[in-house]
């Protein structure tokens, strides 16, 4: 489709004709509606500050105007660069080390012309932000960036295990006007010029990569379970990460994920005597469902522990398993911010099964005991339609009475329920507090918008305003895993699944109250492997959290929100290069996040050398062994190619040994693996008999 038709659309959109004249009596009606006592409701924040710099702002608008023109005329890449460059200027404090590293990386990659684009090469180290004048001063040079060759985004598909050839750098054409002062009179200036060799970059390519959202997954095996994008689809498969040759791609970038639902879902299946469907198993969620006793820092946001050891789960002597254990700062219950919680409870007919609603009510009761006097709770229910059952209040008696009034009814209008919940949350929005909507549902939405896109869009917008969403799944059978996970992801929140009161206690009491406070947002990790040491690598799990390598420092990328005290583990299988020198770093993990406390982006790095690895599996740290066992379990359950020879019986024995510590969670794990082993044996025998 041609640009002239886009322009034509714009022209037609602006052909408004004469301003429609409002009916004569409308103004009187509107005035009559103005309530008394309005003044007290209004609190203005920073309005004056925003207006003080009007001249500068006006000037900036010229720049913006010019850049829209440039982008529309000359192609979209210019904007892409500009955005990468502008976003950090507003929020990032670039430490000298970061800048230096970015430079040295740029150098390193300059020697590797065929390699993937480095994370920072296309983005200059951001100038130190701070006052407005610095920002203004930073604007004009940004425009010059358009003239530089811009590396196109790295192809996302890695199904083959090797990267496709990097896309050709695109020269942005010369036609773009250089100076921008003056000249845009009023709003209409004619004439479109320029063109991009190779055509316009489509909006899809240029759109920020949504992590785990509705975008196509980045690895193979992504067939939709059926043709309906929404409806009776319960789980979505995101494929399995392949091994990647370090020579092809030395960077692994992904958003952190603290969801744990997959473990509970798998447990439910196994306890009921079924193998879980492969799509229901997400390795990282299974792994993160366990506590690895990584120390939580008190004086900074994160600690990273890095460990490596030989692995019994891969053939050949050169394979190793690496674990990066990331742990967020703990916030004492007394230190946490006050919370404004809006519960959106599904009271549709399906919640009547298995006493799902009963479990929700019990869970809410548990939570109530943990709330502090300054916390506020509101309650929205939805069946046939949404209804605000309780406006935000701190009155525990009133909350308890509202919980008691929950009864199942009718169909599932999740959309209206959620929208109402968000409206309530917006009304009750308190700056500086934890604002969170908690959706309790079996995830079956059969009335309302036909697709989740409307809800997802709304949630994404509100997340930008600080309202986070936690989704808690109840019940099984017609449970919609895909929707629940996507909602939480879009809402900067987390997703958990509750099937027992014990699990409810974990989620509602330990997690929701203890870790209610977000310590870091947009948290993502990038692991760089050293080709001299690591021949190939594979990230276990995080398939739907993939972030393009070059976007690691693009702070517009949405990534994981991490609550206080949360732990996140990333596991890699690697194959060492022949004669890999032990003193060299094997891998460096960089963690980047927006700190809730400093409201700035921060970055730390942790390097692991071969010499730091354990010599044998038995000598490996317990956390590493546990994580490996859980990951292997998940890999076998989801039928991963890399675990095709996996032996559940042997794995169960390993789990038993770990469970000798007496930890009930580990005993449960061993039992689940044994159960899966039995079921799988039955399956295979049954299959052979046919």
């Amino acid at each position: 489709m041609s640009r002239s038709s886009e322009r034509e659309v714009a022209r037609r959109l602006s052909e408004r004709g004469p301003e429609p004249e409002p009916p004569a009596e409308l103004l009187a009606r509107l005035k009559a509606d103005i309530p008394a006592e309005l003044g007290g409701r209004l609190r203005l924040v920073k309005a004056a500050a925003a207006e003080e710099r009007r001249p500068a702002w006006g000037e900036r608008r010229w720049l913006l105007a010019a850049s829209i023109a440039a982008a529309l005329a000359g192609g979209f890449l210019a904007l892409e660069v500009r955005q990468q460059a502008t976003a950090p200027v507003e929020e990032v404090e670039a430490t000298p080390e970061v800048a230096a590293r970015a430079e040295s990386e740029a150098d390193a990659f300059a020697e590797r012309p065929a390699g993937p684009p480095p994370p920072a090469a296309a983005v200059p180290p951001p100038a130190s932000a701070g006052d407005e004048s610095a920002q203004m001063a930073a604007e004009p040079p940004l425009l010059d960036l358009r003239r530089e060759a811009v590396a196109a985004p790295k192809p996302q598909l890695r199904a083959s295990g090797r990267l496709a050839a990097p896309a050709q750098p695109v020269e942005v054409p010369e036609e773009i006007p250089e100076g921008v002062e003056g000249g845009i009179a009023g709003s209409v200036v004619g004439g479109v010029h320029g063109g991009v060799p190779g055509g316009i970059v489509s909006g899809e390519t240029a759109a920020p990569l949504r992590v785990g959202g509705a975008m196509a997954p980045t690895t193979g095996g992504n067939a939709e379970p059926n043709d309906e994008p929404y409806g009776d689809v319960f789980f979505k498969t995101y494929g399995v990460n392949p091994f990647i040759d370090t020579e092809d791609d030395r960077l692994s970038t992904f958003g952190l994920d603290v969801d744990t639902a997959s473990y509970t879902v798998a447990r439910r299946y196994l306890t009921d005597g079924h193998l879980p469907p492969a799509e229901a198993v997400r390795v990282e969620e299974m792994v993160n469902a366990f506590d690895y006793a990584d120390p939580a820092p008190r004086d900074r946001d994160f600690t990273v522990r890095a460990e490596g050891s030989p692995t019994p789960f891969a053939e050949g002597g050169r394979y190793r398993v690496l674990r990066f254990g990331i742990r967020a700062r703990e916030v004492h219950a007394a230190e946490r911010k006050p919370a404004v919680l809006t519960f959106v409870v599904d009271v549709s007919g399906s919640m009547d099964y298995e006493n799902r609603l009963g479990l929700v009510k019990q869970a809410l009761g548990l939570l109530l005991d943990e709330l502090r006097p300054e916390d506020r709770v509101g309650l929205v229910v939805y069946g046939d339609e949404g209804q605000v059952l309780l406006n935000h209040t701190s009155d525990k008696g009133a909350i308890r009475r509202a919980i008691d009034r929950l009864v199942p009814e009718g169909s599932t209008n999740a959309e209206e329920g959620l929208l109402l919940g968000y409206q309530l949350a917006e009304q009750g929005l308190r700056q500086g507090a934890i604002n969170r909507v908690i959706l309790c549902s079996d995830g079956v939405a059969n009335v309302g918008a036909t697709g989740p896109q409307t809800i997802l869009a709304r949630i994404g917008r509100d997340a930008e305003r600080g309202i986070e969403l936690t989704t808690v799944g109840f019940g099984m059978g017609n449970y919609n895993d895909v929707l629940m996970e996507q909602l939480a992801d879009k809402g900067d929140g987390r997703y958990a699944y509750v099937d027992t009161l014990e699990e409810a206690r974990r989620v509602f009491v330990e997690d929701l109250t203890g870790t209610l406070q977000t310590v870091a947002s947009q948290a993502r990790a990038q692991v760089e492997f050293n080709p001299a040491v690591v021949a190939r690598w594979r990230l276990l799990g995080y398939e739907n959290r993939d972030i393009a390598d070059h976007r690691f420092r693009d702070d517009t990328v949405d990534a994981g929100e991490i609550g206080a005290g949360h732990g996140v583990t990333a596991l890699y299988e690697i194959k060492l290069a022949e004669d890999a020198p032990a003193y060299l770093p094997a891998a460096t993990l960089r963690l980047r996040w927006r700190s809730d406390e400093s409201e700035r982006f921060e970055e730390i790095a942790r390097t692991l050398r071969v010499a730091d690895f354990a010599r044998s599996w038995d000598g490996a740290p317990r956390a590493l062994r546990l994580a490996s066992v859980v990951a292997e379990f998940a890999e076998i359950l989801r039928g991963s190619y890399w675990a095709k020879d996996g032996d559940l019986e042997a794995l169960a024995r390993r789990a038993r040994r770990l469970a000798m510590s007496g930890d009930p969670r580990l005993i449960e794990l061993a039992e689940l693996i044994e159960k899966a082993s039995e079921l799988k044996g039955d399956d295979e025998e049954g299959g052979a008999a046919d």
């Binding site: 037609r12 009606r29 509107l30 203005l44 925003a50 207006e51 904007l79 502008t86 909006g203 896109q453």
Partner: protein, 202 residues
Amino acid sequence: MDTTRTAVFPGLRVSGLDTGEAGVERRLLAELAAGDRRAAEVLVERTYRGVYAFLHRLAADPELAADLTQETYRRAWAALASFDGRARFSTWLCRIAYTTFLNHLRRPRRLVPLDERYEETAADPAPAADDQVGGAMAGERLRRAVLALPEELRYTVTALFWGERSVAEVAKHEGVTPVAIRKRLKRALAALAAALEEEEVR
């Protein structure tokens, strides 16, 4: 510098033309915060034409637009506490008007997909057989194509063109960068062009 090369979509606000009005709004809001009810009246007087025009363009129905305008202000007063002054009051109103309109679309028949739902409020959706109403039909096709856009894009297009908000204003209110808004606009125009082209081929 050759300024004629600079292409700006017609009708799109890019410059600081509305600065004076913003100052007046700010002063009125301060008076309102101080408890002056008269300030609210003046705010209504100064903004309601814009809100009405926006809703008129969205709904293509004068009476409906008037009702929705009233509903918009009711909601605005009720939600006044959530207005933080980051963007302009009129931009905030524009957002509420938009939501009010969407809620109106959803209200009558929840089970019906959006495409069918807005045909209820739209004019005769039959192809433009009658040349006399060709222009009106084209406008209606465009309106429906806009309403069929994904949420983010739909709001961007309607706020910029029909709500006459500036890119910077919409960005401030949405809490994203102006670049993000411009990207949305770009994507929206491409989607609209494609949708209209498809329809014309049919």
